[in-house]
Amino acid sequence: MNTLLFVLKSLMGGVVTLRLPKTVPTQPTFRGQVQLDKDLCIGCGRCAAACATKVIEVKRDRENKDIYRWSYDAAQCTFCGRCKDACNKFHALSMQTHRPPVYTAIGSLKQEYVMIRKRPETAAPKAAAAGSES
């Protein structure tokens, strides 16, 4: 009897499925790929220190101490957001609010930037402006 009731209730319930090509919208607080704002980054390396999976790397160039390389690969990321939290002074890191795309070759989501190191004083006003906006 219970079984019969269950079947009838399910039949009355209608379909709860999403039609397939439709994707579910993400929340505004969704943590997607990490993105770097090149103008705000001063290369302090706090994000690399905070990264749980050691996927963010900030490496100084051997010859020219003013040039550094920032790299990140979503393939190894746990999307925990610790890098973004660590970058609390200059707000150079942000996370996308949509999911990362499916890919077919290792390294196709890798982001790499070569930048010139800035002095904290020159970068600070911009960061303050960005902070007041957000």
Binding site: V16, T17, L18, R19, L20, T23, V24, T26, A52, T53, K54, V55, D73, A74, A75, Q76, C77, T78, F79, R99, P100, P101, V102, Y103, T104, I106, L109
Partner: protein
Amino acid sequence: MKFFKSLICKARQKSPWLFHMNSGSCNGCDIEIIACLSPRYDVEQAGIHLEASPRHADIICVTGPVTRNAAEAVRTVYGQVCHPKAVVAIGSCPASCNVFAESPFVSGPLNSQIPVDVFVPGCPPRPDAIIEGIAKAAQILSEREARETEVNA
């Protein structure tokens, strides 16, 4: 004969059967795969079907960083699946070992053990990302020619 071949290629895209292989995952990605089968996402509307035996499957969904004990099993399962086949690496772990990278108990990312066709990023990935990855793998399957069998019985 040509018509039959094109029919088979179409059928491969329309009915990809999955085999779900856990190679030392934390169960996060496994639960998201189960979410794909649930009434909310219902992959059966695309003909996707979770099979219990690797012999029946077309697509292997691997979760987890391939641990040292699981490496042998992953290679065996890959050999058991009949041609043509595709491999989907679900989550960050099979792509790069994630937090387990450089651990002595993990035998490297999945593509050091078996060839991988599609990577689905995320830790864990969202169900719609998994479905998109499987659809992409099915498309790769339909374009792939059936090669010689290399199944170790």
